[in-house]
């Protein structure tokens, strides 16, 4: 058991847990932050996608010991607080297109979408079909077409 400190959704947190425990379980089982979902545990389904220092990552595949005290983790619960509006524009776009069916993968989908748009913008270009084709987040309900539409809407407003 050891102590680990990092910033979670804007607040400094400290947890006592074995250093090898992956961040997904620290979030869900220790801190009760359940937005990031388990779908595979091996960085394949991407249901747990969250942000570390503003970039998308999968907490199922990072031991908590990799975190420093100033590392900022944002889960879906903290996404809206990164903007001045009630919800993040991508969350609004998701509601507008009524994307979610069961909703299980959607926190990860939205976090991936936000990071993708940021990445593409940083490259000085707009989202292309090939960017959408390359999203690895799985949705077993098959909401993919509406995800594609919502990302394009969200991109316009980000």
């Amino acid at each position: 058991m050891s102590s680990h400190t990092f910033v979670l959704n804007g607040e400094k947190v400290t947890v006592d847990v074995e250093p090898g425990v992956r961040i997904l379980w620290v979030l869900r089982d220790v801190l009760g932050v359940t937005g990031p979902k388990y779908g595979c545990g091996i960085n394949v389904c991407k249901a747990c996608t969250s942000h570390i220092n503003g970039k998308a990552f999968n907490p199922c595949s990072v031991p908590v010991s990799e975190l420093s005290a100033d590392d900022e983790i944002t889960t879906i619960e903290g996404l809206a607080d990164t903007v001045d509006t009630d919800l993040h524009p991508m969350q609004d776009a998701w509601i507008e297109h009524d994307v979610a069916q069961c909703g299980y993968c959607q926190p990860g989908q939205i976090m991936a979408a936000v990071a993708l748009v940021n990445k593409v913008k940083a490259e000085g270009r707009a989202i292309a079909e090939s960017d959408l084709d390359g999203i690895r987040n799985l949705c077993r309900c098959g909401t993919y077409p509406r995800i594609r539409q919502a990302i394009r809407t969200g991109e316009q407003r980000m």
């Binding site: 425990v21 359940t34 998308a56 990072v62 299980y104 309900c141 993919y144």
Partner: protein, 773 residues
């Protein structure tokens, strides 16, 4: 309290013209109204087609709806002093949007905004028996009338109470947005909730709105839980806060349905960080720990002796040989000498029906009682079986129905709930049980391997006979559907002593064409697998086999596939849907070499669907390189038309069809499980290739066909069969021959390295920070 409403007995099955039904005003502190779940389930009418097949006279939905008749009980709408309405839906929400559509039905009759209505999921209610089963796309069909009756009765009672308070007549009052206004003033539903209540439950008559009066039903509405879904607030079973229910996982056998003999290093496992308990259960060795990560660590340390089980040593080939042996012979009717014949046989491989949320359940088993939390589509069966397993009376087992992260057939079963109950009992502690992803395709439920043989004969432009013999590894109907059949099969207008599976097959399958002498028979064999339906039971496979043969008949008769289908289709709704996709998709338009169209129709769930796709089979598409993926031919355009009768929520219906098309793509092109030496090789979403973004059609259109039907049809599964069939037909056209196996890539070299079988779970990577973006 107001005066009693009229209580004279009237026929609760009044015809749609009168739209009057009997319900109940239920005794309570605030207003509560109820209706029998069976309300509105009128006996199916024979439609007198030229050659009626059983599925046309009475389909599975009629059976599901009729089945509840002897066990009717009430569903209840309550009005609180805060002016909000509440309703506990006796069905499972697993993504279909039935909470939203149920909210809409209540809003319609109660004249209350959607955001003032709280629809939750009912706990297991044994008194509802068969009427708490979510399956067969039956939810909206069976709840449409009772929910509206209960809501309408609540409004009627509120109006009567308001008339007393305001001193006006009911006729002079208008209810809108939760407020009743009359010449003398206005009063809110909340202020009437107590006044409108009764001390003794009474029957009461109420008239429903006509379809022309609807202002909510039929309008596009976003999901009522959309905000919770996009903010991470939506709670699934594993997100529920149940005291001391620590993470629990199970080390599972290396072979499908193997069993544990013993754990050889229990003390060492108990010594591992975070681990609190281990216990042997029939399905494996369970471990409970502070985190799921530590459960995974512990399973990987376990030294377990296993029994191989009944499937040890078997493989795809041996199972297929057994299925082929069970095929029933064709009985071609006597046909003229010059008759030509089309013979075809197709194999449909094992597929995993796992949702993204794995099997999971929370169980807290105490000395004289137990409580379960899980997403369950058949909670009453779960409750009864768990009570039996624990040796408790049914009344001592509380089964809470959590929202499900998808189902696709899996949550008809309560495998995780039963397993969690066993583990909690063995450990004497609450447990939060979750299956590892690896466990899902390997030990979870599969859509069974099946073959479909079709023989059709034709002469002089007419099809004289069409025979189909569908043969399958046995499908498990142990989730309650079977009980329905037991009770009602004898009353059905279908021939003879059919088994559960045969009865369901007969009630769901229909060849929608005028093809002369038609026979469709099912035989099932081999009960050694964990099986279940998968977003539909037989239809996607059966209809794909049919539609491929339809295309072949058209080709041999030198007819255009759309024109051919139009000529032989019996149903005008099916012709209209076919015409719609042909128009939207510009059937026959000029396309580059290697890009082909395919079209198919399907008729089930009191509705029809049609799908037209364009499939790109050009090398630059097929050979796209995506890491750890199957690319292959890509559906580049899909046009889908659905006639689902009366539509509650077109936005939700469209969503269901989009999902159905994604399933059709997977079934045709990419997703199957390989069975080898007693185990399934797949263990991850990068092994089991469900549709991913790189397989998604960039262009997809869903058209909802106008319908003047008075009742809704089913939607949850309706989108799959026509999509699968249309893609298969396009692929056959592209390659110039009918494919004989689905998915088409099953026999290819494995697109992945199978994960080890021992230990049963894989370790999570540690390099996640190398892959940020």
């Amino acid at each position: 309290m107001t005066d009693m409403p009229p209580t004279e007995h009237l026929d609760s099955r009044s015809g749609p013209s009168r739209r009057s039904f009997m319900g109940y005003v239920i005794a309570g502190a605030t207003l509560a109204t109820g209706a029998e779940m069976t309300l509105g389930s009128e006996p199916a009418e024979a439609v007198i087609p030229t050659v009626p097949g059983p599925a046309e006279i009475l389909d599975l939905n009629d059976l599901l709806t009729l089945a509840a008749a002897p066990t009717a009980n009430l569903i209840t709408v309550k009005i609180g002093t805060d002016g909000r309405a509440s309703f506990a839906l006796p069905r499972a929400e697993v993504g279909q949007g039935i909470i939203t559509s149920s909210t809409m039905m209540i809003a319609e009759e109660l004249d209350l905004p959607l955001d003032k209505i709280d629809v939750t999921l009912a706990k297991a209610r044994p008194e509802l028996m068969f009427n708490q089963l979510t399956g067969g796309s039956n939810t909206t069909i069976s709840t449409y009338t009772p929910i509206r009756v209960a809501a309408a009765l609540a409004k009627q009672q509120l109006l009567r109470a308001a008339a007393v308070v305001l001193g006006d007549t009911v006729d002079a009052l208008v209810a809108k947005s939760g407020v009743i206004t009359g010449p003398s003033g206005q009063i809110s539903y909340g202020d009437l909730a107590v006044r409108a209540s009764v001390t003794d439950t009474v029957r009461a008559q109420v008239t429903l709105k006509t379809r022309a009066q609807h202002t909510v039903i039929g309008t596009p509405q976003g999901r009522t839980d959309a905000r919770d879904a996009v903010t991470g607030k939506k709670k699934f079973a594993m997100d529920l806060d149940v005291a001391d229910a620590l993470p629990t996982m199970v080390a599972r056998p290396p072979t499908h349905n193997g069993t544990p003999v013993r754990l050889k290093n229990e003390a060492a496992v108990l010594d591992l960080p975070g681990v609190t308990d281990v216990a042997q259960v029939p399905t494996g060795i369970a471990v409970r720990a502070k985190t799921f990560g530590q459960c995974i660590d512990a399973i990987r340390e376990m030294d377990i002796e296993w029994e191989g089980g009944k499937l040890a040593g078997e493989s795809d080939a041996s199972i297929l040989a057994k299925v082929k042996k069970a095929q029933l012979p064709m009985v071609v009717p006597k046909v003229p000498v010059l008759t030509q014949r089309v013979d075809a046989e197709f194999t449909f491989r094992f597929r995993s029906n796992s949702s993204l949320e794995p099997n999971c359940a929370i169980a807290d088993v105490r000395a004289g009682s137990a409580e379960i939390w899980a997403s369950l589509k058949s909670p009453v069966v779960a409750q009864e079986e768990i009570a039996g397993e624990l040796g408790l009376p049914v009344s001592k087992v509380t089964v809470n129905v959590a929202q499900g992260g998808g189902s696709f057939g899996r949550k008809l079963f309560h495998d995780a709930a039963l397993e969690a109950a066993r583990i909690s009992k063995a450990m004497g502690k609450p447990v939060r049980l979750m299956w590892h992803r690896v466990d899902e395709p390997r030990q979870g439920r599969l859509h069974p391997l099946a073959t479909s043989r079709v023989r059709a004969t034709h002469l002089l432009g007419e099809v004289l006979s069409f025979e189909q013999r569908h043969t399958s590894v046995q499908t498990d109907f142990g989730h309650g559907l079977g009980d329905i059949i037991t009770n009602h099969a004898a009353k059905l207008p279908v021939a003879g002593n059919l088994s559960f599976a045969q009865t369901i097959f007969t009630l769901t399958q229909e060849v929608p064409y005028n093809f002369g002498a038609v026979t469709q028979l099912l035989s099932e064999t081999d009960d050694r697998f964990n099986t279940g339906s998968m977003r539909n039971i037989y239809s996607p496979d059966v209809r794909t086999a049919n539609e491929l043969v339809v295309d072949e008949l058209a080709r041999k008769m030198r007819k255009d596939p759309v024109a051919f289908r139009r000529k032989f289709l019996r149903s005008s709704a099916a012709k209209a849907a076919l015409d719609k996709v042909a128009e939207l998709g510009e059937w026959g338009r000029r396309l580059p070499d290697g890009v082909v169209q395919g079209v198919a129709i399907h008729k089930e769930y009191k509705g029809v669907t049609a799908c037209l796709v364009e499939l790109d089979t050009r090398p630059q598409t097929v050979e796209r390189d995506v890491r750890n993926a199957v690319t292959g031919p890509r559906v580049t355009k899909a046009f889908f038309a659905v006639d689902a009768g009366l539509v509650i929520n077109p936005t939700g219906l469209e969503a269901q069809m989009l999902g159905g098309v994604m399933d059709g793509i997977a079934l045709a092109l990419t997703s199957s499980c390989h069975f080898e030496d007693g185990h399934f090789l797949e263990a991850s979403w990068d092994n089991y290739f469900y549709t991913r973004q790189w397989n998604v059609p960039p262009e997809i259109t869903v058209e909802i066909m106008p319908s003047d039907a008075g009742q809704p049809g089913g939607a949850g599964e309706a989108g799959v069969a026509a999509s699968f069939a249309a893609i298969a037909c396009a692929y056959a056209r592209a390659t110039g021959k009918m494919p004989t196996e689905f998915p088409i890539n099953h026999a290819d070299e494995l697109a992945f390295e199978p994960k080890p079988f021992t230990p049963s779970v894989v370790q999570s990577p540690t390099d996640g920070l190398d892959h940020t973006y």
